[in-house]
Structures are given as C-alpha cells and as structure tokens.
Amino acid sequence: MKHVSLTLAASLAITASAAVADVTVDVLSINRDSTPWLGLYTDAAASYEAANPGVKINLQFMEDEAFKQKLPTLLQSDAAPDMFFSWSGGVFYEQAEQGFLRALDDATVSEWQQELSAGGMAALSHNGKYYGAPEASQNVAIWYNKDHAAALGIDPTAIKTYDDLLGAVETAKAGGVTPFVVGGQDKWPLHFFYSLIAMRIMGQEGMAASAAGDHGGFNNDDWVRAGQEYMRLIELEPFQPGFMGVKYDAATGLWGDGAALFHLMGDWDLGASRGAATNGGLSDDQLGVIPFPMIEGGKGAITDTLGGASGFVLTKDAPDEAVDFLKYFMGVEVQKAAASGGVYIPTVPSAGGLVEDVILKQFAAIGGASTYHQLFLDQFFGSELGGAINDVSAQMATGDITPEAAAELLEETRAFQ
C-alpha cells in the first residue's frame, strides 16, 4: 500500500511539474560539466527559471569530439536542442547555409549589439544574418616558465621578433631545457605556429585573400614563406622528445610539470595544465605570457590575435523563450559572474575589467588590444580545409612535406571546397 501511494505521489509530482514548466529550452554544450563552468551554467539556468516561471532550462553536456560527431545527425532529428555551443567558423557556416539555424530578427540584433560584443556577434553571423550570442573570448599566446627563463638568462618580455624567439629556442636547447611542449598527435596545437606565422606575414588582407582564392589562394609567396619560417623553427628541434605521439592533454600536463620553457597555447590552458599536471601545475608566479612575435617584413602586426570566438547559436525550431534565455545566458550579468569567478574571459565589453585572475588578465589585455582577431584557421576554413591545414602543420613538423607542396595542397583543397 505504501508502495502504491508513493508511486501515486511521484506521478502527481511529475504531472504538477509538467503543468508548471510549459516550455523547456534544451541547451547542448560541450564538455563543461565540471567546476567552475558547471556552477556558472547551473546558477544561470536556476536564476533564469526563478525569474521566468513556466520555462525550464535543460542543460546537456557532451564530450567535445562526440559533440562534433553527433551534431549533424542530432540537428536533423526530433531531439535537436534549441541552442547549442558553436566554435563559429566553417562548420557553423555550413549549418547556417543549410538552414538548420534560427536567425535573429533585426530589432534583437541591434539591441544585442549594444550590450554584447559586436565583434563576437559578427563571428556568429553569416551572409548578413545573425544566429547567436558570443560567450568567451579565447586568445593564443606564448606562455613562458619564469623559473626556466631566469635560469637560462632569457627575458621573454624582450622577445619582439621571430628571430628573437628562435634565439631563445637555441639558448634553451643549449641550456638543456626543452624549448616548447606540444601535443603533436592532435595536430591543431602545431597549426597555431603555422597560423600565427602566416598571420604575421600576410596580415588580415592576405588571409582574407586566401579565403577568397585571390592571389593564388594558398599557393602564393606568403604561404610558402610562412612554411619556410615555420621550418626554421622545426629545424632547431624545439619540441619535447616524442612530441608526435602526445595529445594536447598529455602535453599540457608536461607543461604543468615544468618540462619546457615555452608553450604556445590559449588562455584555457591555465586550468587544463593544472588539471593534467602531477602536482597541481605551475603557480601564477611561475607563469608569464607574451604575444607571438613579429616577423620581419610581415604585413601583419604583433597585436593581431589568433583565437576562438565561441558562443551559442539557436536551432531553426527554437522557441522565443530560447532567444530570451540566450540573451540572459550570454548576457552582462552572467558574463560578469564568469569574469569575477575566473571561469572565462568574457566578450561583453563591460565585464572585461572584472577579470581578477592574474594570468587571465594578461590574456584579456592581449584580446583587448587586438587589431585583428583571426579565428583558429582549422575552424575558420571549415572541416576539410581546416583539417588540411592541421595535416600540413604536422607533416612539416615531421619533415614529410615542403612548404611549397604544403601551399599547393592547401590551395587544391580550397579549390575543391
């Protein structure tokens, strides 16, 4: 009897909650079900639900690679979420072009542009339509280990040119310290080198021309020179032994254990390296950050940045409640909490000053001073061409392709795309 009444009570409770929650907004995120992200997300969902009775926010998380693989099928099914995480770039353009996303109306766009980051909004737009709201700003820079730098007599803050950097690499090698750690098996950490060198050489216009197929697309002097400059670094054998067999997670663990002088990586590496290191990683006092140096004769600037422009976008059948929640979820209040909690570097301009973490602050400064922000090339150019850029970055690192052949291969892939 007790069992029956319990069941009855439970079913009543379910019916009651269903009656209250008229609309459920399904949010699909990449793997952020650990602190401090999870806390930020659940707090945001809870406070929105409290302020908007009748709306239930359903947060779902998926591991990054699984997320990428499942999304195409998921978006075509009845189980499609109302909004999902996006790295922007070619995959996002494809989703937008194929009509899987809900575009924001003009009034909403102009309202959001006032409060949220206009640049971030632009990253989640395609062919003049806006599909979502930006979240974190990510930038790639050279991290350095202050202990090693001091022991080697190197002042990383004095590194302004690529030749200075190569000089520091040689000094480190001579001093018995690994210059760079890299997770070569994942390829994308290697593509940061190639991308930043290319950006410094050709600047924003050159990159736009490559994307458009002008001046030979990728098969031109600038890309060949980018490969040649990259090879100058590779020839110094700057990476840890066995770097091609190591994924990013393991590489950043080595970095956290103090295995190298430099690490070319994004701001997210702070938490990642501390999580993967054997003894909690390097402290704030041991870490420093410098922008990737300038290359002589290059058309870019040292203040040009490479990074992510992630956020959340709406799917085509998303209800209006989802649009409203997105505004709140990526809005000033939540981004301020993210900044002060050290969760991420916010894109909302008014929240940028609230970053307290001493390292994230340096990245926020680099992002704030950006003269041109380039999305990660492997995302910007879409899965196929982006994948090819990752491939040639790895192949050059193992000496399997020449800079000329790499440029040709990239152009051939671009033309087919």
């Binding site: 194929q98 070569g184 098996q185 066995g242 190591v246 085509k316 790895a394």
Partner: protein, 321 residues
Amino acid sequence: MVTTTDYATQATLKPNVFRRMWTDGQLKMLLIFLPPALLVFTVFVILPMLQAGFFAPYKWSGYGPAPWVLNEDTGREFGRWVGSQNFERMWGHSAFQQAFENTLLVIAVSLLIQLPIALFLALLIYQNSRINTIFRLVFFLPYIMAEVATGLIFSFVLDGNYGLSKWFSDLMGYETAFFPLAEKPWAFYSILAVIVWKYFGFHMMIYIAGLQSISKELIEAARIDGATATQRAFFIQIPLLWPAITISIFYSVLGGLQVFDLVMPMTAGGPSNSSHTLVSYLYNFGFVRLNVGFGSAVGVFLFAVGVVFALVYRNTVQRGQ
C-alpha cells in the same frame, strides 16, 4: 538416361521437402528466425552499402537526409554532384595511398607471421591436459579484451614519458626515451605488433579445434611407422587441417581490411597520417571532416575490395569445401 518415372519423382520432390521441413520443425524455425535477421541485415548492412554507393559521387557535408534532396530553407540541394572527383581525389591522396599500403601490410603480417605463430602454438598445446588449458587461456586472453582498451593500454605502454618504454629506455641507459608511436618508421610497426599479439589466440583456437578432430588412430599409426613430430605435423596434421586454415586466412584478410579500433587510441593515424588503415582514413577524412560523399567513395572502394576477395577466395581456395 532420364526416364519418365524420374521426372515424376522429381516433380513430387519439392512438396515433399517442404512437408518434411514442416513436420520436423525446420520450416517453422526458418519462419521465426529468418525475418528478424534479414530485417536487421537489410537495415544495417544492405541499405547503408547502397546509400554509400549513391552518396559517393556527391560533395556533401552530411547535413540533410541525402545530397540530392532539395533543401526547402535554401532552395538548393543539400549536396553537389561531383561525379568521379571523390574517387580521383582519393587515389591521388598520399594519405590514402599510405593507408592502402598499411592495410596490405596488416594482411601480409597476419598471413605470414600471425597465422604461423598460431599454428605452431596450436600444434604444441592442442592435446587436452591441465597445463595446456592454462596456456590456451593465456594465449586467448588478448582476443577477449576490447580493441579500444587494448589500444589505450599500448598507447601507455609505448609512451616514452610515462610508460614501459620510459622504464626500458632508463634501464638501457638511453639519453632520450624511445617513443615508438611518435616516430614515423615505428608507429605502424607498433600497431602491427599489437595486432599479431591480440589476434593470434583466436586463430590458434580455430586450429586447436581442427587438430582435435583429426583421428587419433591416424597420428598413432604414423608414430608407430616412425614419423617424427615434424613429419606428423607437415604430412598429416597440416594437410588435414587445411579447411580450418582456409577459414582462418579468410578471417585474417577480412579482419585486416577492417582494422580501426586499435589505430585510433594508439596513433589516431599519425604521425603525419603515416599509420592510417583504410577504415581509419575513411573515418578521419570522411566523417570527422564532414565530407560524407568522399567518405562514401572510400567505403565503396573498401567494399569492392572485400567483395572481390571473398568471391575469388570462395571460388578458388575454398572451392568444394
């Protein structure tokens, strides 16, 4: 010479066969068990194979139900017809050529190293005894382990930063540790070694079953005639084991065409796409890069190779078995 009576007998044969099958329950079993199996086989094997054939001439990201379907939101089709371009690009791609070469290498190593090891061990331990049972269990254990788990374990073992490789390098006093999975010349050989280690037990079991079915009297007679163990193996056991060996070769070749789960955790196809097999190549360049049309073209090629092999093999080596 066929007589009229013979025709009459043949004409009544078919109903009789069905009646007999019905009475002894065979037909009922067939009606109960065949449709579900046929349905599952059609939905998960036949249909995807046909689909891959239709998708192969398209440039298609995988969004939308099919590349030729009109997308009402955009007014265009989901994919773009590229004809034979996917196949041409596949043939011209150095990573594909490497993957094909690697797949052939898997097959060669399976046939020339793995199967002889399995046969040798089977000959040693096929007789029933307690110690042989223990050996069989030990040799068969790697086969039971999940492929992905095996791949992960070996990626740790062969890691020069933490794994057994580091321990071994330290022991030998090498200045820098050995990273087999990070070195192009070694990465695929490491995978091959794991393949041999993992699957020889399976083939050994096939051979043991075959050896146990060979008449003991025959072996005994040869022994009395003065045949040595080697002579018995080469002149009696292996010839009588031939049907089992042909099955084992068949599994080896088809298994070699499908190697995937070990590659992904061990090297993910690297360094620089040097350790891809056909299937890991298909997965990486087809699905990960949202190029379903291209992936389908690779799938069609893989399927064609498998079918051609199976047909030729069944009609030559396995003919009459």
